[in-house]
Symmetry: C4
Subunit: 216 residues, 4 copies
């Protein structure tokens, strides 16, 4: 669910006022030497001439607002964008993406600034996005994609993987339910709480890691 | 149709009271040393510290209830989940998945226990799932996926592959038929019986096996 | 558009009363030694213990009925099956699949024999399918797939590739056109004739061949 | 979004009256020795017996009409064709394809010549296509595909990649919005201008290039 423009950051485990994000390069090509350290205002600490990602303010402002978040993923999840532009709310219908049941806000950049290229190019936009995200595990970004957070890397990545898959499933369920006038059984609140709390995506992690390290 | 969370088990050919299931690892990464033997209560016989799959009770309780079943597949088949949450019945329209015509029940875990994470974490839930499955070749699991069984490995795997494909075809057929007010020609009972009895998926097996052994 | 069950045959360039078809094995695994020669009644000439494809009568009866056909492809083209079960006619809307504009019949096996497994297991069914195909470049097979023919290998394969792609495009066009009450611009008869006559798929052939020879 | 029939050309950086286009071969198989130089009337300058692409007039006539264009891509983008045959206008709803908001014309070849195979086989058709394209970044071609231009290679390729992706997203958004009577939030004019001007797809280029050079 990450194209050449997605990015994944990690808060430093040693200093909560710092985070790591690769220089501006497609995720599939990132190497260890591409990692840059930033402070929470998203100023690079050790850039040494490497180009920073324009939208790093997504990461810095979320780390500032959410002390428990250790990982932030931004992507252009293709099945999520249609929800972001129609206002149809994403809902939890698949247990692997039960976290959707906590409610995913949709960030409308126009409410903060008009006439933008939709990118989070500064801390004003970053703070507004973090405010929209509030305490949720993810937020849609209208016409742009999504931001997904977690207490660790597997959780933020796993939520991103299954957010995309659940979006496809919900579109299909809406299509199936409509002709027959039927309804969709979403996870109820108790199921969301039971599932979202436990789901760590640890079982998938070694596989995803192996595939990610198998470079082009 | 198997993501990092599916699992496939085999009943022991030597002892019908035992089955084999890999430790908790993504199917693509399974090695011979990952196989654990279980009794039909799903207690590990030879775990030696290896972590068991939480949902092993799916397997044990089906082997207990269905003496002819030698293989059980559990998956999160993405095109099947939308059927499981809408109550639209899956029907046989593709000869490779004629077994659907025997009727696939949909397991609603809420009828057994409320507020779960939808996982089959104990033998009570496993027995309920096996009771829903009854004598059928597969059952949907609401908001979760499916369980598919067979008298041998190729048959359970082949049914899983074509269950997913048939689900996509049925969604497309419903979409095509709707605007023109048309109807869908499903396999009739005689066709289902003629096809389902003979279909062993043996022709596909060497190809699937070759691909599965080509690891990441 | 060929899964483990598709098959491709060639009429012998030396003897029009013979054709070649691989033994019963998934197409991706076929080797030269798998080729068996058949007469037009689909009796193997040189089987030497190798297992014949059950549905070889598709090939033999078409070669018997259509003297100009040198290649027959049978497949389970996934986007074509939904058309075969809904009676929605496939129409030409993409120039690479202009041959669809010649009109594709849909073979309903029930009109010949009831209660089958939908397979073309003998020459009676093969002759009926060939009669349905008549002089057309392809025919749908209800709940099963398609048969596609050509004066040479690239043409029959190219038509198969673009039949699948055009089916997807037509489903999408029907979906797009419906809400707005719009209509679809299909290729007209003159365009079909101009395009179908010239389209040999020769440009694609070296690429498809290179990919097909890159085995699992 | 390029199948065996797409083609990409570059205007010569040394002589604006010349462009380079590979001989008639699938793009995935192109080697340096396949490049042929053409004048703007699409006469080969150095063919040396190599077969020219029939539709080279697409390229020559656009370079003639649009002095700033340095790269032309022609493809059969599968999700774009359904728009081309239904008259549903493509609109900008994803920031990576904001250029769609400049308005994409749809070339109807019948208005120029009836009964064609839809190919741009001569300069009359090439000039008509260039006139339809006018000053826009791309044009649909009814029942055929699209032509996409740019001031450099990454921009024309990037627009092609995201045109396909945006077409899929728009089809899904239309499907989502319809049942609830909802509407779609497209990028507004100011957003289109802000985004389209800046979007150079440079970040993606090294990844696409690495993948393209990884031949079959």
């Amino acid at each position: 669910m990450i194209d050449a423009y997605g990015h994944v950051s990690l808060r430093s485990p040693r200093n909560p006022e710092r985070y790591y994000l690769a220089r501006s390069v497609a995720p599939e090509l990132v190497q260890v030497d591409d990692l840059i350290q930033y402070d929470l205002a998203s100023n690079p600490v050790d850039a040494n001439g490497r180009e920073s990602v324009l939208e790093r303010f997504i990461h810095g402002e979320i780390y500032r607002a959410r002390r428990e978040v250790m990982c932030v993923v931004h992507n252009h999840s293709p099945s999520v964008v249609p929800f972001s532009v129609t206002g149809v709310p994403m809902r939890a219908l698949f247990h692997m993406a039960a976290f959707i049941g906590e409610g995913l806000p949709n960030f409308e950049i126009r409410e903060v600034r008009k006439g933008t290229d939709l990118l989070i190019r500064d801390s004003v936009l970053g703070k507004a996005l973090a405010a929209t995200l509030a305490a949720k595990p993810a937020a849609l970004m209208r016409g742009h994609g999504a931001v997904v957070v977690g207490e660790n890397l597997p959780r933020a990545v796993g939520r991103s993987v299954y957010l995309e898959q659940s979006a496809r499933m919900q579109m299909q369920a809406l299509m199936l339910a409509a002709p027959g006038g039927g309804s969709i059984t979403f996870l109820d609140d108790a199921e969301v709480q039971a599932s979202a709390a436990r789901q760590d995506y640890y079982r998938a992690w070694p596989l995803w890691r192996a595939k990610a390290l198998n470079r082009p």
